[in-house]
Amino acid sequence: MRRLRLLIRNELKMVRTALPIHLIAILQPALMYSIMAGVLVHPTFDVNVTRPTNEVGQQLIEAMHEVGSPDGVPYINPVLRGEDDPIGAGVVTIEETDHQVRAVYHYGLIDSNIVKNLRNRLTAAALRLWNDSLDGRAVTIVEHPWLPQDPPYNLYFGMAMLPMTTFLAAALIGGFLTAQEFEFDTIIEYRLSPISPTLVFFARLIRLVLMSWLSASVLLIVVGLFNRVWPASIPAVALILLPIALIGGGIGLSAGLMLRSSLPAFVIGLGSAFGCWILGAAFGLPTGFSSAYEFVSRLVPNSYAVELLFPLYYDTTIADSLRSILALTIFSLAALGLAALAYRRRVLIQQE
C-alpha cells in the first residue's frame, strides 16, 4: 500500500510537468459550456420588423411579445426598423394590398437553421394573432410534458457534456503526459523498473480518474449554477462517469504509448473526446434524431452514460439501466485492454 500511495503521490505531482494541458483538460469544457449556454443556446431571438404603419402591424408586434418559451424568457424580441434599412439577418414586413394584410418574411441567408428559427417565430406570432379567424382550421399548440420536471434545454446540454469532459480530461492528460515520457526519455525509468507493471498502470489510472472527476465537478457546478438544477446523487454521477474516465484514459494512454509524440497524442485525445460527445447524445436523446444517428450513437460510450445520468437530473428513466451499465463495462474493458497491450509493447518488452 505504501508503494501504491507513493506512486499515486508521484503521479499527482506530475501535474507540474504539463500545467497548461491540465488547465485545458479541467477548465475548458466548463468554459465552453458557459459560453454556449450563456450566449449561443438562448431561446430569445431578435426578429427585425419594419416599423408598422397600420393597426394589424401593431397587433402583430404585440403578439410577438406575448409568445413565450418553456423556461419563461421571451421567445421573440421584435426589433423595429425603417423601411429602407438593409435586410441583414432577415426582416418581417407588414404588407397591405387590396384590403388584404400579410406578414412577409424576407431573408437572404445561407444559414438554414437561422432561417428556420426566424420562420418558426413568425409563425408562432401569426398563429397567436390570427388563429381565431381560422375557425376549424386553426392550429393550437398544447404542451403535454412527459417529464416530471421540464427544465430548460441548457440543462440537457450541460448534462450531456459531463461524459465529454470526463473523457477529455483522461484522454488529454493520459495521452500527452505518456507521450512526453518518451520525448524526455523518462520512460526508461519505467522500462527498467523491477516492480509489478500492473501497480504502475493502476496508479496512473487512478490519477486520470481523479483528474477526470475534478474536471466533471467543475462542469457540474457551472451547469448547476446556470440552471439551478442539481443531480439527485453526486456519488451516483461519479460512479457513472468512472467507466468514461477509464475509457478516455485507456484511449489517451494507448495514443501516447503508440505515437510517442505529445502533439499527435493531444489531437487524438481531443478528437476522440469530441467525436464521442457529438455522436453520443450531445444535443438531444438519440431517439429524437434519425435512425442512422441513433445507430451510430450506440457505438460510443457517451450515449449510455447520458442514459444513466438522465434519471438523476430529470427523475425519469429513459433506457434499460442494466444495458447501459453492461455497455459501459465492455467499453471500459476494451479501452483498458488496448492500453495494457500498448504498455506491454512500448514499455515492458525488449526492443527488437
Partner: protein, 313 residues
Amino acid sequence: MESTQLAVRVDSVTRRFGELTAVNELSFAAHPGEIFGLLGPNGAGKTTAINLITGLLKRHGGAIQILGFDPQTQAREVRRRIGLVPQDTNVYADLNGVDNLLHHAALYCDDLADIEKRIEGMLRWMNLWERRADPVRTYSGGMKRRLALARALLHDPQVILFDEPTLGVDVQGKHVLWEHIKAQQAQGKTFIVSTNNMEEADTLCDRLVIIDHGKAIAMDSPERLKAALARDVVTLRTTPNIENPTSLFSGLGLQAATFPQPDQLRLEVTNAESIVGELVARTTAGHRLDAVRITRPTLDDVFLHHTGRALRE
C-alpha cells in the same frame, strides 16, 4: 573464470539495426568493484552495448550475464541489481530533486521505510541538499548528472551503468563526479562507464575496452594499453628544421617521424629516457634546439595505433 564471479560478462554479443551492425561479436568482462570503461568514438556502439546489458535492447547473438543473470530472460532479477544513468539526463525537469528521487524510489526500492532519510542522505552526499526544493531545470549540467547518479544509486544496485558521465559537464563538475564514482567504487560497486573522453577513461577506469565500429579492438588497463605500444613521443623544435630525421637519429630506436606542424618534429621512439642525451647531442651538432618535450603515449595514440584514426575524429 566462472561467470558468477563476474559482475558483468559480455560474450560475443551482436546487435544489428537493419543493415547496420552496431555491436559486432563484442566480448568483455567486469569484475565486482571495478570501474570498467567502454571507450570509443561517437557511433562506436557504446550506448548500444549499455542498452544490451540493461536489457532495454534485444541482442541478436551472444550471451550477457549480470551477476549471473541474463537480462533477456531474467529481466526482473537484473533490474533489481543495476542502476542506469543514460547519456541524456532523463530527470523530470519540472520536479525538484526530492520528488525526482521519490519517483525513482517508488519504482525501484524494495524497502520504502525511511526513504525520505535515504534521499536526504543521498542528496547531501551529492551536495544537492541545499537545492532540493528547486525545480531541476534550474540545476547546472553537473548537478543534473549528480542527481541522475544519486537516483541510480538510490535502490542500492551492485552494478551501475553510466553512459558518458561528464558529457556537457564543466571541468570542476567533472572532477566532483569522478570523486563520487570513485567513492562508490570503494564501497564495492561495479561501474560500467562509456566515454569518448580520454582523460575520463584514463582517470576513472581500472580497465577498459576500446570499441570501434561495434568491435572490441583492445582491452586492458589504461596503463598497460599505453605501455603495450612500447614507444614514447619526443617532440623537437629546431632552427633550421631537421631535413632527414631518419638518418640523423639512426640507431636510436626510431619508430616513426612526422611533422605535425612545419616547425615541429614528432619522433616515436622505443624508450625516450635512455636516448634523450644522444638525441639532443646529435640535434645540437647542426641545429639550434629551441624546444624538446618527451611525452608518454595517450589512449588516443592507442586508438590511432589500432585503427589508424584519432579517437576524436
